[in-house]
């Protein structure tokens, strides 16, 4: 789980989001020597060398010289909202290429345990399919355990020395973006990495923060906590499903009813989840804020480190409050990634200690009692809290609903017409050129949408100016 999230956060930050802020065409104008000097002043990462940076620049130059820009051909290069100096752009572009290597490495951890990635195949109802036997060549053994540890340590270096530094630097250069994109500031996050077999203590805390007030944090305390189970609902008033109701997942149904775009009616395939009747933002920012509020030490350490770096670069104190924003959401993703790397190391030690003590149990055969049973499970996925809800009748599935992270964030207006997090975050976003609304992409991409979605920009007379497909 830690390795999967680390991969996801690295790819999202560098490959799916950074090019909204970093102009790779401008990077071609940079002086590689000055870039190396800049990189070395920010971090002791050993791949900020002149040779490394010059190589990256030449590679990009070769692409541009070929005249075939491919997926980069439609980018917003030279857009007035792009503000970084050529050297900063080149440094980020160099790390963009390096990040591709490290996401591959951390994915190998997922594959060793999950059989392959993407689409891991080691989960079984009642446990995992990984047999542990240190005296067999065909199971999780010492070779595999140390393969995992080696990869974790290698990628940890990249996350701590490169990604954490880059996100602070981009945050500092775009400090005005701490003022945009807060949107819905109710935050919901799941506790994860249980430390006992009953799911009552967790290495990573989670819970709920209403209205940006981390003093009002309420933890989710167990896998069965009614505080979570009782407070989740979904509405379909504005979604392309039959009817108009707000229901608990156990009582939901999913019957499509497509109406095309209706301004005040139905306009989305996404349902609108609520917690205690209100929309909630989920994802790394929600996770970092709840872990911060719960006193999780690694989260506090890396959040403080990033905020201190930003403060010293901009020359004034930037506090936790700055995280309620577009750029804060991006920073939180990397902060979480750093904290998870510490977690992975700890979990590896715990696993080895268990094996050393003779505990190699990986599976409890499930039983399905007669009658109607219902239950839920949750997990803090890379994009936020994921919950599955099931009703079983005499051993057969009667109802199954998944309330997934992007549903929480992308949901349309709910049963009370309150805006969902994507919608609310776009209010008051600056847009310099409505034909090229890069700023809209910045805020939307900061959520890491799991889907391609569309934002329709319409003027006050309801004429559509431009439709932005966010990918």
């Amino acid at each position: 789980m830690g390795a999967h999230a680390t991969h996801d956060h690295i790819v999202h930050f560098y490959h799916l989001c950074a090019l909204d802020w970093v102009d790779i065409v401008s990077a071609l104008k940079a002086d590689p020597k000055a870039t190396a000097k800049l990189g070395q002043s920010l971090s002791d990462w050993n791949r900020n060398s002149y040779q490394e940076i010059k190589g990256a620049q030449e590679r990009l130059q070769a692409l541009v010289d070929s005249g075939q820009l491919g997926v980069y051909g439609s980018g917003y290069w030279g857009h007035p909202a792009m503000k970084l100096e050529p050297e900063v752009n080149l440094l980020a572009a160099t790390h963009y290429l390096q990040a591709l290597e490290y996401q591959r490495e951390i994915n190998k951890v997922v594959a060793i345990l999950g059989s392959k990635t993407p689409h891991i195949q080691n989960l079984a109802v009642g446990g995992v399919a990984n047999a542990i036997n240190l005296d067999s060549p065909d199971t999780l053994n010492m070779e595999k355990l140390f393969h995992i540890k080696t990869l974790i340590d290698e990628v940890d270096d990249f996350v701590k020395k490169v990604a954490l530094v880059d996100v602070a630097a981009i945050g500092a250069f775009y400090a005005d973006w701490t003022g945009y994109g807060a949107g819905v500031t109710n935050y919901l996050s799941a506790p994860d990495m249980p430390l006992d077999t009953k799911g009552t203590t967790f290495e990573l805390p989670g819970g709920y923060i209403p209205a940006a007030d981390i003093g009002k944090f309420t933890p989710i305390k167990s896998f069965n906590d009614p505080f979570f189970e009782d407070n989740v609902q979904e509405s379909i008033k504005h979604s392309w499903y039959d009817g108009d109701w707000t229901r608990h997942p156990y009582q939901e149904e999913t019957v499509p009813n497509y109406t095309d775009w209706q301004d005040d009616g139905k306009y989305s395939w996404v349902k609108s989840p609520t917690f205690q009747g209100e929309p909630a933002q989920v994802g790394p920012l929600a996770n970092v804020l709840t872990m911060f509020a719960a006193g999780h030490k690694p989260t506090q350490k890396y959040a403080t480190q990033v905020l201190d770096t930003v403060s010293s670069l901009v020359g004034s104190k930037v506090g936790v409050g700055a995280l309620h924003s577009t750029i804060g959401r991006i920073a939180a993703r990397v902060i979480r990634c750093a904290a998870l790397n510490d977690t992975m190391k700890n979990q590896w030690n715990l696993l080895v200690a268990n094996i050393a003590s003779g505990d190699t149990t990986t599976f409890n055969p499930p039983t399905f009692p007669k009658g109607e049973q219902q239950g839920f499970g949750y997990h803090e996925a890379p994009r936020g809290i994921l919950s599955h809800w099931i009703v079983i009748q005499d051993g057969t599935i009667k109802n199954y609903q998944a309330v997934v992270p992007s549903t929480w964030n992308a949901g349309p207006r709910n049963g009370q017409d309150a805006l969902g997090p994507y919608e609310a975050s776009l209010l008051d976003n600056p847009v310099q050129d409505p034909e090229k609304p890069l700023e809209v992409l910045r805020t939307l991409h900061s959520f890491d949408p799991c889907l391609a979605c569309a934002i329709h920009l319409v003027d006050k007379e309801h004429n559509e100016i431009v439709r932005v497909k966010v990918l």
Binding site: H15, L16, L19, G55, E58, R59, Q61, A62, L63, S66, G67, Q68, G70, V71, Y72, G73, S74, G75, L97, L100, Q103, R104, N107, K108, A111, I112, S115, K116, T117, P118, H119, Q121, N122, A124, G127, V128, A129, A131, I132, N133, S136, P137, D138, P256, Y258, D260, T360, T361, T362, F363, P365, K436, L441, A452, V466, R467, V468, K469, V470, L471
Partner: protein, 370 residues
């Protein structure tokens, strides 16, 4: 144009010629072309005035088929899109969005008419006029029907595009349909690369095959390249010896499972799934599901993955196991009765070996016929 080392260097930027030849040789060997084809692959790529254009359309998909390309090491995604092909349009990887991306796509199709490879991932919903998947205000069905006739060839990547996959699972509420069915009878060259997601090297090698030889690889009756899908997983499985000897895991975590026995009784679909997972493996580290202890669920095989229960036993079309298996070889030194059982086991074992040899012979006969 004569292809010298300097030409290659200028084409490849900081990617060294040796590395490039290594990739090409590995691909050539993997495609069954032999090592001597390596330089030819490199030369073809270097001589091409332009990198071959590829347009990637996404319909009812989860982006797993794209994610899988992020994991490849030979070549890597960056080598693929910076040095080997020109990926003109891809929803997830485009730097631009909205009008910018759509205009770039339209322009590229116009400019590369008849020359580009069209990759499609995801099934195409056809129910209710195709409204269950719209991109930039148009249905996936419309976009596919308009784009495919202009392509040199169409690659359907993943099980969804190849035979329907997850969205086509019963009751198929959106009428999810595979690409080849939509394009049937239109004279368009189509290749299926099923899997959930497919092994990325099966996709990469197909693209490199086409780029190098300017023709499609040999396909089976389901339009799958034979170099990847020519054998049942079961035929090359590392646990096959346990199957033949009747050593099975009965439940996750039991003794057989912890000894790496065959997963047939846990529902492994290796005996009815045509794929190269057991030889090619995943993520450049030699892993695949059976290696971890999880049965294959036939993700790449239409009618098996997403349509039969995970743990129900596979249909054995080509291999009939004996009705009775001996227990695993008993431990030594357990007294007279254990010794007697061992002797009986050895006798039965001999019978199994004989049966195995016959099976092998039958396989060879089939090979010669085909």
């Amino acid at each position: 144009m004569k292809c010298g080392e300097s030409d290659l260097s200028s084409l490849l930027g900081d990617y060294s010629r040796r590395d490039f030849l290594k990739v090409c040789t590995a691909s050539a060997v993997y495609m069954g072309l032999g090592e001597s084809f390596g330089p030819q692959v490199a030369e073809a790529a270097a001589n091409a005035a332009k990198r071959p254009p590829v347009i990637w359309l996404s319909a009812q998909e989860c982006t797993g088929c794209t994610e899988t390309l992020l994991r490849t090491g030979h070549p890597t995604l960056e080598t693929l899109i910076l040095d080997l092909i020109s990926l003109e349009y891809h929803e997830t990887l485009n730097a631009g969005s909205g009008h910018q991306a759509e205009e770039f796509r339209a322009h590229s199709i116009e400019e590369n008419k008849g020359k580009f490879i069209l990759v499609v991932d995801g099934a195409i919903p056809v129910k209710d006029g195709g409204i269950y998947c719209k991109i930039a205000g148009r249905t996936a069905l419309e976009i596919l029907e308009e784009t495919a006739p202009q392509a040199a060839a169409v690659i359907a990547i993943g099980s969804c595009a190849s035979w329907g996959g997850v969205p086509a699972a019963e009751p198929n509420p959106t009428g999810a349909t595979p690409v080849h069915k939509i394009l049937e009878g239109k004279g368009i060259a189509i290749i299926n690369i099923p899997g959930c997601p497919p092994n990325p090297y099966n996709f990469l090698s197909t693209v490199l095959y086409y780029v190098t030889l300017n023709k499609l690889p040999e396909l089976d009756d389901k339009l799958r390249p034979k170099f990847a899908y020519g054998r049942l997983i079961h035929e090359n499985c590392e646990r096959r010896a346990h199957f033949d000897a009747g050593r099975f895991a009965e439940q996750f975590g039991d003794e057989g499972h912890r000894k790496g026995y065959c997963l047939y009784k846990l529902g492994c679909k290796g005996p009815e799934t045509y794929n190269n997972c057991s030889t090619l493996r995943f993520n450049d580290i030699g892993v695949w599901p059976v290696n971890t202890g999880h049965p294959c669920f036939g993700c790449s095989e239409g009618g098996v993955g997403f349509s039969t229960p995970l743990h129900s036993p596979a249909q054995l079309h080509h291999i009939t196991p004996p009705a009775w298996f001996p227990s695993a070889t008993p431990e030594k030194g357990k007294g007279a009765s254990a010794l007697a059982a061992a002797v009986a086991g050895a006798a039965v074992g001999a019978g199994i070996v004989a049966a195995g040899m016959n099976l092998g012979k039958k396989d060879h006969e089939e090979d010669e016929e085909s």
